[in-house]
């Protein structure tokens, strides 16, 4: 393979004119992708198509964790294209993107090892694909039994179907079928064309990540409109993002304790999570931060009074949470259930394209806050913590460590806001005009991991394509790998340690 051909984006969020994106022929595109993805620091953040009257463009976006860059390039096919040689067979983390394209358009990826539906969208190519006929992998043996769970689960959670192949108590294989939550979000981003409507949709991609997805959209809109925002707004947004992370991490530790019947850990964490989300409500009137993140500005700017209130409340949570964590991680019962349970390796993360906490607990340094800093992270000296055991224990412990990191980032930003010379605050701007014929990429490290929003604008600057990648999209597969060779009774605690999003996957 000769010279690499791609457009290199340095900024996050960043945009590129469609005409500046190199078009390769498919053979070169495939070879180049395989070559780039050989590097463990590279992972694909999106691969999608754009249908034109006489041709189809396939855009791929790859982020490099160590060079801090994003590569964009494409290949073009005739409109009547029926099949392509799959890249997945050489580079497994593309599996879900090729499956998605296949499901939406019917283009077959030859020699794809797992060409199955992703989410049964309403506008899928073949409506004859029915949710009830999902082609589950099965092991035929008299000694193997199948366990089916869902779509409706025992608790108050979202729907999804899990199919286990078990030998006695041991799980040999788990396959996760999703799509039940599909609301047609990507389509709504095009159809509902007021900026405010799109803000509300972005906050509902996954309500537990209101700030993460809301911010991914807001900064994308600002970039496409080439609008400016000030440092104060950047700091406020990251305070919100880190508060969301703190709240969910504490809540997850509560849930993990609940799963192993460690009640004191569960209730004490629940109470602390309540303080964090109630503080969010004191800031913006909503416990999840809905309505806070808006393009161009915010309706809830941080004044001195609320700043010191937040600092004071989080100080209290911090003190108490460290006491609780000290108790939890010292408990032999907890250690017995968490350690060496649901272990995944760095290789599995690399092959599956795992992101976020899942990657960072298996020895992979993947964190958008460091690799592609956005908003106030451009100035914050943030260094991600990497653990390498890859088990439930590591995923629980990382939550505790990230809680402390978030706490110190928030304090740093509060101090910075107090000393800002430019203390102006701006109201949201819903009248933005987007630049035509652009492809814009926005990356945010939400509490689960990397969130990617991509928009393509047409000749008039209208959004023609909107693509969302929630961190769950790749991590669901990692969860399925984590429970192999485990007792089926350990599934709940493995599942909680991932805490993936159904609606973020199903869109």
């Amino acid at each position: 393979m000769a010279e690499m051909k791609y457009y290199e984006l340095i900024k996050n969020p960043g945009m590129v004119a469609l005409t500046d994106i190199p078009i390769l022929d498919y053979h070169d595109f495939r070879e180049q992708t395989i070559a780039i993805m050989k590097k463990e620091s590279c992972h694909c953040v999106n691969y999608f198509i754009r249908q034109n009257t006489d041709h189809v463009d396939f855009y791929i976006i790859i982020a490099n964790d160590s060079s801090h860059k994003v590569f964009v390039y494409s290949h073009r096919q005739k409109a009547e294209i029926k099949s392509l040689e799959s890249i997945t067979q050489e580079c497994f983390q593309l599996h879900v993107f090729e499956r998605e394209i296949y499901e939406n358009t019917g283009i077959v990826f030859e020699n794809h090892p797992w060409l199955k539906p992703v989410r049964y969208p309403f506008d899928r190519y073949d409506k004859a694909f029915k949710l009830s006929d999902y082609p589950f992998y099965r092991i035929d043996s008299e000694e193997i039994h199948e366990v089916g769970v869902g779509p409706i689960h025992a608790g108050i959670i979202e729907p999804g179907h899990f199919r286990f192949q078990c030998y006695g108590e041991k799980v040999l294989h788990l396959e996760i079928q999703l799509g039940y939550q599909h609301r047609g979000i990507e389509n709504l981003f095009i159809k509902k064309n007021s900026l405010l409507q799109r803000c509300v949709i972005s906050e509902s991609v996954a309500g537990d990540t209101t700030i993460g997805h809301g911010l991914a959209f807001a900064q994308l809109a600002e970039t496409l409109a080439e609008s400016e925002w000030n440092e104060k707004l950047e700091c406020e947004r990251i305070i919100a993002l880190e508060m969301e992370r703190m709240a969910v991490h504490i809540g997850d530790i509560a849930a993990l304790c609940g799963d192993v019947a460690y009640q004191i850990g569960q209730v004490s964490c629940e109470a602390l999570r309540t303080i964090v989300i109630n503080t969010m409500q004191d800031w913006c009137g909503n416990r999840f931060g809905k309505g806070l993140i808006r393009p161009g500005g915010t309706n809830y700017t941080l004044g001195n009074k609320i700043l010191s209130f937040i600092a004071e409340r989080l100080e209290e949570v911090h003190r108490r949470f460290l006491e609780v964590a000290d108790m939890i991680f010292d408990d032999s019962g907890i250690l017995a259930r968490f350690e060496n349970t649901g272990t995944i390796s760095a290789k599995q993360v690399y092959l599956s394209g795992g992101v976020g906490m899942v990657a960072r607990t298996s020895g992979t340094c993947r964190d958008i806050r460091e690799s592609h800093p956005f908003q106030a992270y451009k100035e914050v000296k943030y260094k991600p913590v990497i653990l390498d055991q890859g088990d439930v224990y590591a995923r629980a412990l990382l939550r505790k460590i990230e809680f402390e990191l978030s706490f110190s980032v928030i304090n740093e930003l509060i101090t910075r806001i107090e000393h800002l010379s430019d203390n102006l605050s701006f109201k949201p701007d819903y009248e933005m005009n987007f630049k035509p014929d652009m492809l814009c990429i926005s990356l945010v490290e939400g509490w689960r991991g990397e969130i990617c929003h991509v928009a393509v604008t047409d000749h008039e600057g209208k959004i023609e394509i909107y693509k969302i990648k929630d961190p769950s999209l790749h991590n669901w597969h990692v969860l399925a790998l984590a429970v192999r060779e485990q007792e089926i009774s350990d599934f709940p605690v493995c599942n909680k340690s991932f805490n993936l999003s159904y609606c973020g996957n199903d869109l």
Binding site: Y120, F122, L131, P151, I152, G155, I156, I157, E158, P159, Y180, Q181, H182, R183, G184, N187, K191, K192, S194, L196, Q197, C199, V200, I201, S204, V205, A206, G207, D208, T210, G251, I264, V267, S268, E270, A271, T274, N278, Q281, W283, C284, G285, N286, R287, F288, K290, G291, N299, Y300, R319, R320, E323, V324, D326, M327, D330, K427, S501, Y502, C503
Partner: protein, 251 residues
């Protein structure tokens, strides 16, 4: 042991003593109040910005069963529209959720329309099955929170159960996706009679921001009698708790 005692000491007592009068933040976006002298022109301005068409273009009333509580209308016309922190928003009659200009009465249940068997059979204990049908996990988390150490709704014998066969009713969140239509129906059919239906959140009540998406199937809602509508985006645990308490007649 010492560590546990330390945690317990810091933890203290967490439960909310009176769930009906618990104060919440002033900024909480609850029941809106629209001024009686809002002009036609002002109505058309706020109606045009509303992301979910919750504001009636003629009368200027706000349907809190559609409203996503973004408060943009109040930011636009602070003199004419304001959102109070009144979290008691649940009702058993859909029309009650339409808040008219100049009307400042609280949202309450219509006692005459509560089915007699509900109070007779369920006021001592009510077990519910939750079904998320396209919910974004925020309403689900708030429903779960209603049973946590702070809100402790279990004190009235009101809880969520794992099986529909153990349940007295169903709580639905989300706009109801086509892909969940069948599972929702199967779950509802599995609940023994008599049973109740509660819609939690704007998405469930009207489709919310997802209204009009071709991926939804809302036939179930049209075909069944709804016992309680709980507005919110997401619902606040206190909105849900007070709604259910009013439905059961718990004072």
């Amino acid at each position: 042991m010492l560590k546990k005692l330390k945690v317990l000491k810091s933890h203290g007592s967490q439960y909310i003593k009176n769930l009906q009068t618990q104060p919440v933040s002033d900024l909480f976006r609850g029941r809106p109040i629209i001024s009686g002298n809002i002009s036609e022109q002002e109505i058309s301005r706020v109606a045009s910005i509303c992301p979910v068409d919750a504001i009636d273009k003629k009368s200027g009333s706000i349907d809190i069963g559609r409203c996503v509580f973004c408060k943009e209308c109040a930011f636009m016309l602070p003199e004419k529209i304001r959102f109070t922190n009144d979290y008691r928003l649940a009702a058993n009659v859909r029309e009650t959720l339409i808040i008219r200009p100049g009307v400042e009465i609280p949202v309450r249940l219509d006692e005459t329309k509560v089915r007699g068997e509900i109070r007779k059979l369920f006021s001592g204990a009510l077990k519910l099955r939750e079904v998320s049908a396209g919910g974004d996990n925020s309403c689900e988390m708030e429903l779960a929170a209603s049973g946590n150490v702070n809100f402790d709704f279990g004190r009235y014998g009101i809880e969520f159960v794992a099986s529909p066969r153990h349940a007295d009713g169903i709580v639905i969140t989300g706009p109801i996706t086509e892909n969940m239509e069948e599972a929702l129906k199967i779950c509802y059919d599995a609940i023994p009679l008599p049973k109740i239906i509660i819609l939690a959140g704007t998405d469930a009540i009207s489709g919310g921001i997802f209204d009009g998406s071709p991926a939804l199937r809302r036939k179930f809602i049209e075909e069944h009698n709804i016992d309680l509508f709980v507005p919110g985006n997401p619902i606040h645990p206190l909105t849900y708790i007070n709604g259910v308490m009013d439905l059961l007649g718990i004072k």
